[in-house]
Amino acid sequence: MYNQTEIIKDTSELGAEGELVINMGPQHPATHGVLHLVVTLNGETIKKIEPHLGYIHRSIEKMCESLTYRQFIYVTSRMDYLSSHINNLGCALLVEKGMAIEVPDRAKYVRVILSELTRIASHELWLGAMAMDLGAFTPFFYAFREREMITDIMEDTCGARLTMNYIVPGGLMYDIHPDFQKKVKAFITQFKSKVNEYEDLVTNNVIFQSRTKGVGILSAEDAISYGCTGPVARASGVSCDIRKIYPYEVYDKVEFEEVLETAGDSFARYMVRVKEMNQSIRIIEQLIDNIPEGDFVGKTKNVLKLPKGEFYTRVETARGELGVFVVSEGGTTPHRIKFRSPGFSNLSVLNHIAAGSKIGDLMASMGTLDLVIPDIDR
């Protein structure tokens, strides 16, 4: 029998004397989505943060089990919607690896260019939103101005601005737009001339620096033990760039540096992302003039069947390592599929880096983790 009085008596979850438990979210402007944080406070000091997940769970992994190997790729755009192109790439790479499909060079080059454009777009959005969390509204519009050029390129070539679904197993869905190279070059010129505006507005701003420097420090050991990847781990000095360690597509042919910082605080995570945008521009510059002629899609069978076994691929999204694991029984649909999303591991570190700091610093710590909630919940 449901006994109400006993539930009220059980106050263990409400915190000790003098502590205050507040719910941040699920509808909170700074959590950028339906993230629900249960924060235990003592005055203004954070005692404990407990993320509650499940508000945007769409059971994408289960959904994929009923879709064929051509169809399941589009669903992964809805996981980490800011780097949807890279999610699609990871799934396509898995099918190509399992079935030994040859991908033409042209498709490989275009895939990498679009992946890097997606990475820049994602970091631009993060930069604007992060500065807005800390109270600076203007950088949001400046970052979106450059991001808009990328979404225009995506709209021209892929037909959509966010959930592209442009990659199919074996290559690309259709050839690039005739204006593609011209528009990408125009974007590179625009980005290079405007990137110093972010330096003036955000990086060199005294208020921004004092709110992020020394806030939310994550050591390299903790980054490894929590499974952090991407810019969060690289800001602590952990070298974990999949593009360098396990190069896929044409990443082994291009020159770029893996951006590493050692401070591990929020400002280091900010700097990693800003420098990464410049490295992405460097990759695009090397590839954009050398897109080889030829087919944009390789020859594939009409019905794709993965051989019996287990397959795993990993790609570097804007947030870290995305792993795709498929168990195949030899049929047209996967038997079991699992995504190792970077956002979930990066969120798990939040309690560690923010406990003990003030509630105002939570925005800086959480913002620089670059959380995308549909990626965490799937």
Binding site: L67, R70, Q71, F72, Y74, V75, T138, Y142, R145, E148, D152, E155, D156, T157, C158, G159, A160, T163, N165, V168, M173, Y174, H177, E197, D200, L201, N204, N205, V206, I207
Partner: protein, 158 residues
Amino acid sequence: MFLKEYISEVVNGVSSLLKGMRKTGYYFAHPKEIITEQYPDNRATLLMSDRFKGEVVMPHDENNEHACTGCTACELACPNGTIKVVTKFEVSPEGKKKKAIDALVYRLELCTMCNLCVVACPSDAIKMAPNFEHSVFDRTKLTKVLNQTGSKIREGIE
């Protein structure tokens, strides 16, 4: 010592503020570099990319003929069950029976614009159109029949 730090902090703060304000002031003085589009007011001049995936349409030529053979490749390719092909048998004047579509039912409310049906179509009968203003007051209006009334299959398409 304390006073010196305090003053330098104030000077640094003011200078970084002015640096940021200079950028804002630059765009205030150069309104031509502002790229904001006044969307609902610029409908007449709005340029959409020709590849933009807004909805699935079936192009008809001037004789009210389309290229759909009713092979249901699009129905099989669709991940959401958006497309339903209803076929019938047409009897030609010579007495030959031929498969043709009665209706290609397209449910826009289920569509995720993944473009898989367009890629799967062997006779290029359907394509994506760049219309994006889909809101209606009644949900049933989102279920559309793509082939026009009285339309026929074009000659020479098998």
